[in-house]
Amino acid sequence: MQCICGASILADDKFCEECGTPLTASKPPTAIDKCEKCGAGIDSEGYCCQCGFRQEPPVHDWLEVIINSQLAGVSDRGLKHSRNEDFLALQQLNDSQPNILVVCDGVSSSEKPDLAAKTAAETTCLALANAWEIGENSASAIKSAFATALANVCNISYRNSGDLEPPSTTIVAAIVQEGIATIGWLGDSRAYWISAHSHQQLTQDDSWLTEVVAAGKISEAEARLSPKAHAITRWLGADAVEDAVPSIVKFTIPDSGYLILCSDGLWNYTLDAAHLANLVQRSPDRDAIGISRTLVEFARNCGGHDNITVAVLCL
């Protein structure tokens, strides 16, 4: 047997060892009622009554949002982190459009990053929908939605233990209507355009890596190896209120294809936009949820070192 990339595969392979494409339809992990380690019962909080190991994945370990076959997304804990600190929110205002996509990645070194991500994603999605309905233009709608999200993130109560920052998150949000995608962001969660004819990264990370590469100091490949590669320079949080000015781009959708928003848990494992396009083209399922699952499975298969979130709009 052969994978679509040409590498040979065995009948019971779950992934192509060459390109990482999943070879089986992926399903979200299901809850279990017996301890995987010792077989004893599970208490109401999800811990084994006997050996104490936690069984049931926390609520947002695997989050799927399916609006329709065109708009969907997946957020997964990954394999190494103990909880999912990413979140996503999607909305389609009416049958014709516009579509709203938001992906947030809570900053691990802050307090309650999971709650920051959830709050920011949900608030932004709702605020964008409201702004749109009162006729605000898309760029100012994104600015005001981020401001509302920031206010809500600042209101999260947390225990100031001294060594952690206040609740913080990255955010990337897109409003898509009549062939134009308006995208705003803070931090290093990204948006990509992928089609049969073209592919490109639409956002520029607010990160140390982007800054040094843009300044021509070192190559991206070298920069990625630095411990500072994931240091972000902008985010949504109480300690960065002054700097929370989003970058905004407008992108005219050239043909049919996919708008993809994702956290670094996915893009870390991609070489570039072409690699991502390759993965999308090889997905066994062509609808939005199928592609989202394919990309999440790819990142898990590569090691799943971080939380992975993908939102897909098929156009």
């Binding site: 104490g52 103990s82 100031n160 233990s161």
Partner: protein
């Protein structure tokens, strides 16, 4: 009446691969309130146990008698009390009675006729007190034992036996007057009976100390509270200590409830009381990404044979390969680890000093000075100054004092387990 118990756990739950030890500090606070668990007790019983052996003659017995009379007068009317005096054998001077005006007068008359003579067999005193306490098993039961001398060596075995019988029946604070008593001896009684030990350097100071003890005893209103700990199968509790307001090692005081579950005694609790406990649990390590419930600690109180759970908190363990997470030590765990080390350095320093091992005593007490300074434990720092000349506290550079009053060394020894609390936030 209703009391709100709150339990909070402070820990770094992240462990590196293969690590087995989980440290956690649990803070328990009680507040009086309208909501929360309805608690109650069937009265309060306060026992006075006073040494009347020959050595108490003169000033001491006068001061002790005056102080006992003051205590009796101070007892609230809804409390019950009794008085046991002891020498070579014990004497129930006044049996369990309500603290009415009439009964107080009778008790005072009985106190006045007390004489001091005979040896010291503390086991007999405690055995008599035990008989009295058994008359009111549902009351909040607390005692105060006052002595000035050492227990007779022949009593060692009997004392151990009677302490086992008294454990859980009543709590007992111990006070030593002067400097002829032995710290370790009173500490053994007090710690077994969940009480405190302290020195009253001169007879004149007995009264104010008694007043403070009675006030504290009368503030207790939830009796017989146990700290219940569930641990996963295969786990081992390396230690369980009360670490604030003072250090009380409860590790070997556990009573099994059922498999994987033990109770540690905590005695009676008063309103607005707050204590910290330090658990160190060894568990079977998990894989990276695994989360484990390493312990579930709850407070359980028993009234008229019915158990009620009043607070609960979880101790967690999560294995991670993220070193930034696993190498962090929780501030409170670090603080109390330091306080335990401080107490131990003082004990070892004083022991070395008693053996004339000047070098070791200087090193240990110097380390204690440094630790007390770092943690802001001013009370202990002040006591250390009575034993050593401090040249530089931050580095723990000290010289042993040549002349040290015996009472100062004993005060340091008895109070070395008093800890200071960590500030709520470094900001």
């Amino acid at each position: 009446m209703s009391h709100q118990f709150k339990a909070e756990v402070f820990q770094n739950q992240y462990l590196p691969q293969g690590a087995r030890e989980v440290d956690a500090i649990m803070t328990i606070t009680v507040e009086k309130g309208d909501s929360g668990v309805a608690t109650g007790h069937n009265g309060r019983l306060f026992g006075i146990i006073c040494d009347t052996s020959g050595s108490m003659g003169g000033d001491k017995i006068h001061a002790a008698k005056d102080a006992m009379i003051k205590i009796v007068n101070l007892l609230p009317e809804d409390a019950h009390f009794f008085i046991v005096t002891g020498a070579g054998k014990a004497n129930v001077v006044f049996p369990v009675s309500p603290a009415t005006t009439e009964k107080k007068q009778e008790a005072i008359a009985a106190i006045k006729s007390t004489l001091a003579n005979g040896g010291t067999l503390m086991s007999t005193w405690l055995a008599q007190a035990l008989t009295q306490f058994k008359k009111m098993p549902s009351a909040v039961r607390q005692a105060l034992l006052l002595t000035d001398g050492q227990n007779d060596d022949s009593d060692e075995k009997s004392l151990k036996k009677v302490l086992l019988e008294c454990e859980g029946v009543f709590q007992c604070d111990c006070r030593g007057v002067g400097t002829d008593w032995r710290v370790a001896q009173l500490q053994e009684i007090a710690s077994k009976l969940l009480g405190t030990t302290d020195i009253i350097p001169s007879a004149a100071m007995i009264e104010s100390d008694f007043r403070a003890i009675l006030e504290k005893a009368m503030s207790k209103n939830v009796s017989d509270v146990a700290l219940r700990l569930w641990t996963p199968q295969g786990a081992k509790v390396l230690f369980c200590k009360q670490v604030s307001p003072d250090i009380v090692d409860l590790t070997h005081r556990h009573k099994p409830v059922k498999p994987q579950m033990v109770d540690y005694p905590t005695g009676a609790w008063g309103s607005n009381e707050s204590r910290d406990y330090h658990f160190c649990i060894e568990v079977n390590p998990g894989n990276i990404g695994d989360e484990m419930l390493a312990g579930r600690a709850s407070l359980v109180y028993t009234l008229n044979g019915t158990e009620t759970k009043v607070a609960e908190a979880r101790i967690l363990a999560t294995w991670t390969d993220d070193e930034a997470k696993s190498t962090k030590i929780d501030r409170r765990v670090a603080h109390y680890t330091g306080q335990a080390e401080l107490a131990q350095s003082i004990q070892e320093g004083l022991e070395a000093r008693a053996r004339n091992d000047i070098e070791l005593a200087t090193a240990k007490l110097g380390k204690a000075v440094k630790l007390a300074h770092e943690s802001g434990n001013e009370a202990t720092a002040k006591l250390l100054k009575t034993v050593v000349e401090i040249e530089d506290a931050p580095t723990g550079t000290v010289r042993l004092k040549r002349e040290v009053a015996k009472e100062d060394a004993m005060a340091l020894e008895t109070r070395s387990t008093k800890t200071t609390r960590i500030a709520k936030s470094p900001n």
